[in-house]
């Protein structure tokens, strides 16, 4: 017996002695997890709760005196122009989400339920659209459908002789198209996941009663996944109203004002952060409300999984129609990924992009300028990489600790911790940035323009992604794995280090990579917080787009994509092809 020496007792005296020891032992036996818990509460307050509270408070404060006032709200909603921007945002959200659903649902049905060819290509399209930052996509579409020199419009004029352009990208429709083409993967992933759970027997049951393939899809399969479609619709809607890059690049030249671009104007000199805070409230309320609705919709998953077992899954044979579906998927792929990427690539290697493809138009000068001569370009690449990497590390570590103590029920009110960690999910990035500005830009911390502020904002903004990921990873490790180590003599921290950490390492790496990738292309949370020397690639790209040098712009976009693709590639290699697209 290893411990028989210490465990054996010598009569009643020893028992009494051990009582004394256990009293002392109470202090010794308190687990360090309580200290950790207190530290985590502090960090979460700092990262999430305080900026949000500050945003709220500032919106009711007079900027100079700090006295309570409603003047900020009166100002923010006092002009027709500001109200119009709100209406424009809502319309843009509705239009983009509708178009995204129209694009994505047939694709999801085709990939999940039918024998359509080219499914790998469709997956590539979805992944490509997911990776392509919306502002780059917007720039690509300027090259394609700018009213005068866009390739599509020039081709149209040459073909028909008409003067009017076929499509002007600087318009409400243009913004709608770009946003939908960029965010349809959200709908696709939701709907495909739901369709994957629908048993073929559901359709068979309709078939045997006389419904054809078309009727069965329309009356059975699609209604069954309606909650997922609505969920995806809501996500695209929210993405559209909180997006900054696309409205700034395509909307401002067309004098189309939306909420985010209006917020940007409140941040121009003199900075009216209190008005911006007041003006951001509807965005925050709508987002929080719709996320709640979406949760309710998806919680009624009884809809799909009621059958319990998945049942048999058989692909529907479409015959000739499968080529029609394939054409649809390929068309979306062309518009969303292939065409914008192609023209961007062409421009990045061109002396003048409008001259098209000619040998004497080829040059590496754009890349050379950015890599060797531009004063800010390489600095911004470095900024982007280390801001994103640090933010991802902070977010994942924090998320892991919270997920662990919540899942293992080590502390009271653990669910409240989880709630705060997930809260940034309902805060648009631009609103988050205003909160961080209000909370930490001014003295005493005076973090405005520092790397620390951007890193903290990124870490807070993407904490929910890291948390969802970590919580899933921790849930997958049976608590008995650790208990088995503890009963054999290992303390809690030792057990976590030796047993749990190796088991969740891979999942955490996945979470880290996803946070890194989305942080490295984040524009709206960064744009209010950067200083001249702390600009990220996304911010610099936006600044350059105002100058209008599309060749250099395209080359810089190329560099951004190459870096992103490198990390996506690492993720796929380590974690599987679909590591970014898993729903969870």
């Amino acid at each position: 017996m290893p411990d028989s020496g210490t465990l054996s007792a010598r009569g009643p005296a020893a028992v009494a002695g051990s009582r004394r020891v256990t009293w002392l032992g109470r202090l010794r036996n308190i687990e360090p997890v309580m200290l950790l818990w207190i530290a985590l509460i502090g960090v979460l307050l700092f990262l999430v709760a305080f900026p949000l509270a500050k945003l709220f408070v500032v919106s009711f404060e007079d900027q100079r005196t700090g006295a309570f006032t409603l003047a900020n709200y009166a100002f923010a909603y006092g002009r027709e122009r500001y109200i119009n921007a709100l209406v424009n945002s809502l319309l843009l959200g509705l239009a983009s989400a509708t178009l995204a659903v129209i694009l994505a649902v047939p694709m999801a049905w085709a990939v999940s339920r039918t024998d359509m060819p080219g499914k790998g290509l469709t997956w590539a399209t979805v992944l490509g659209a997911f990776i392509l930052p919306p502002y780059l996509s917007a720039i690509g579409w300027i090259l394609l459908a700018g009213p005068n020199s866009g390739f599509v419009n020039r081709f149209w004029r040459d073909l028909t002789g008409f003067e009017a352009p076929l499509f002007n990208i600087f318009s409400f429709e243009g913004m709608t198209l770009v946003i939908a083409l960029n965010s349809f993967p959200l709908v696709f992933i939701f709907v495909k996941a739901a369709l994957d759970l629908v048993s073929s027997e559901m359709e068979d049951a309709a078939n045997i009663l006389g419904a054809g393939t078309w009727t069965a899809m329309r009356r059975i399969s699609i209604p069954l996944v309606m909650p997922a479609i609505l969920g995806g619709f809501i996500l695209v809607f929210l993405e559209a109203i909180s997006l900054f890059g696309v409205p700034a690049i395509l909307g401002i030249p067309a004098r189309l004002n939306v909420v985010t671009t209006q917020l940007w104007q409140f941040f121009e000199w003199p900075v009216r952060v209190e008005v911006a805070a007041a003006y951001a409230m509807p965005l925050l309320m709508i987002t929080a409300g719709l996320i709640a609705v979406q949760k309710l919709l998806l919680a009624r998953k009884g809809f799909v999984s009621q059958t319990g077992k998945g049942g048999e899954r058989r692909l529907i044979r479409l015959g000739r129609w499968r080529w029609a579906l394939f054409a649809w998927c390929a068309g979306v792929g062309l518009l969303a990924v292939a065409m914008p990427l192609f023209v961007l690539a062409q421009a990045s290697f061109a002396k003048a992009w409008g001259r098209g493809f000619a040998l004497d138009n080829l040059t590496l000068a754009n890349y050379r300028l950015l890599i060797f001569e531009h004063e800010m370009a390489m600095q911004s690449v470095w900024n982007t990489v280390w801001f994103s990497a640090t933010a991802a590390t902070i977010a994942v570590l924090l998320a892991l600790l919270i997920a662990y103590i919540v899942n293992r029920r080590l502390v009271p009110f653990g669910d409240a911790l989880a709630f705060v960690a997930m809260a940034p999910f309902v805060i648009p990035g631009i609103v988050m940035a205003i909160g961080f500005y209000a909370a930490y830009a001014a003295p005493p911390l005076a973090l405005y323009g520092t790397a620390a502020l951007i890193i903290l904002a990124f870490a807070a903004r993407f904490l929910p992604i890291a948390y969802a990921n970590s919580a899933a990873a921790i849930r997958a490790v049976h608590p008995e794995m650790e208990e088995a180590a503890r009963i054999l003599g290992s303390g809690r921290l030792h057990a976590v280090w030796r047993i749990t950490t190796p088991l969740v390492r891979k999942a955490l790496l996945g979470g880290w990579l996803i946070v890194f990738i989305v942080a490295s292309r984040e524009l709206s949370a960064a744009i209010f917080l950067v200083g001249p020397r702390t600009r990220t690639m996304a911010v610099l790209l936006y600044d350059m787009s105002e100058a209008g040098n599309f060749e250099v712009l395209a080359a810089f976009g190329g560099i951004l994509l190459v870096i992103t693709m490198a990390f996506v590639g690492i993720g796929m290699k380590l974690l599987g092809r679909d590591f970014m697209l898993r729903r969870g």
């Binding site: 017996m1 290893p2 256990t22 049976h478 503890r486 003599g489 303390g491």
Partner: protein
């Protein structure tokens, strides 16, 4: 001196008392099962012994030293116990040998000794040839053997098993039952075994503690639980039985048309006259086509077959004594065939009738 003592051990979750003032004492080297239906508190009790759950009242002592008391719980890693979990909890990131050697490494044994002891215990559980495999390459039964080796190799003061066989298929379960008992006979480790399967408890245990609704109903050797159940719950949970409401009147137990001399019971009743509950096992009654000539002190009564089921190993008859409202289940060998509606004679041995609470 007893090894493990549970003293008034209690656990309360909200308004639910999951474990209700349990007393249990294990001698050194004893194998005791906690047997009961799901939700009876047996796993909670085991996890309190392991130190994963603090008690709300009562104490746990090992060798006279208090390990758990309300507000003061020695953490599991300092108890010198080991445990086998329902999920086995074999660490998938370590090989079989690394899993088994983990506890020895924590005890800071020299590397050579760790290796030799791991080798020896893998020999005992017949897993030597798989020492360098990873758990994902093992079958359920093999993982179970690794879990056993990992728990035994540290020579724990107490070995805890939490429904270790519930994830195995029927054949393997039977094999592992005997394996667990064989290992106990070899190492004589004081063991607490939690299960809801009575056959498992009977095959492995020196004594069985039958639990119901957070309380221990009876602790006894397996054969005594069967032949001398003390409560209605134990009688019904261990094997099948007929529960008959009867009255004790002046030294005679009376029910229906039957009267038995109370003094002929194996354990005659202590109290005075009043209502009593009888447990009569289906195996303790016999059916005959003709009236037996020598009753030999057994009660003999005319009856009729009302239903029957053929189960292969036995006939299961439902018998109604003549002019009676009660029906009795009687087991008979497969060769004893009686038709439904047929008149039979039922004999009842008072030695096998037990009064339960």
């Amino acid at each position: 001196m007893p090894r493990l003592i549970l003293n008034g051990l209690t656990k309360i979750y909200g308004r639910l008392t999951v474990v209700d003032a349990i007393d249990l004492t294990l001698e050194e080297g004893e194998f005791v099962s906690l047997l009961g239906p799901s939700g009876c508190g047996k796993t909670t009790t085991l996890r309190m012994i392991a130190g994963f759950i603090p008690p709300d009242a009562g104490t746990i002592e090992i060798d006279g030293k208090v390990l758990s008391a309300p507000g003061s719980v020695l953490p599991p890693e300092r108890r010198g116990m080991s445990m086998i979990f329902q999920s086995y909890a074999i660490w998938p990131n370590m090989t079989v040998a690394e899993n088994v050697g983990f506890g020895l490494e924590l005890r800071k044994l020299p590397r050579a000794e760790v290796r030799s002891r791991v080798g020896a215990i893998l020999e005992v559980v017949k897993m030597s040839h798989l020492a360098d495999r990873y758990p994902s390459e093992l079958s359920g039964g093999q993982q179970q053997r690794v879990a056993l080796a990992r728990a035994i190799v540290v020579e724990p003061a107490v070995l805890l098993l939490d429904e270790p066989l519930s994830n195995l298929d029927a054949n393997l379960r039977e094999e592992m039952r005997f394996e667990i008992r064989r290992l106990h006979d070899e190492f004589r480790i004081t063991t607490v075994y939690v299960t809801h399967d009575q056959a498992e408890a009977m095959a492995t245990s020196d004594r069985i503690a039958v639990m119901n609704a957070g309380r221990i109903e009876q602790v006894d050797a397996p054969h005594l639980l069967y032949t001398r159940p003390r409560t209605r719950f134990v009688a019904g949970f261990i094997g099948r039985t007929n529960l008959i409401e009867a009255r004790l009147v002046q030294g005679e137990i009376v029910f229906d048309t039957v009267a038995l001399a109370a003094s002929r019971l194996a354990t005659p009743p202590q109290g005075g006259d009043g209502a009593v509950l009888l447990s009569v096992r289906p195996q303790s009654m016999m059916l005959r086509e003709t009236r037996p000539e020598d009753a030999n002190g057994h009660a003999v009564l005319p009856a009729e077959v009302t239903r029957r089921v053929y189960l292969g190993e036995t006939w299961d008859y439902l018998i109604r004594p003549r002019d009676s409202a009660i029906e009795l289940r009687v087991s008979a060998p497969p060769t004893q065939v009686h038709e439904v509606g047929q008149a039979v004679w039922l004999t009842l041995d008072p030695q096998q009738v037990v009064i339960v609470d």
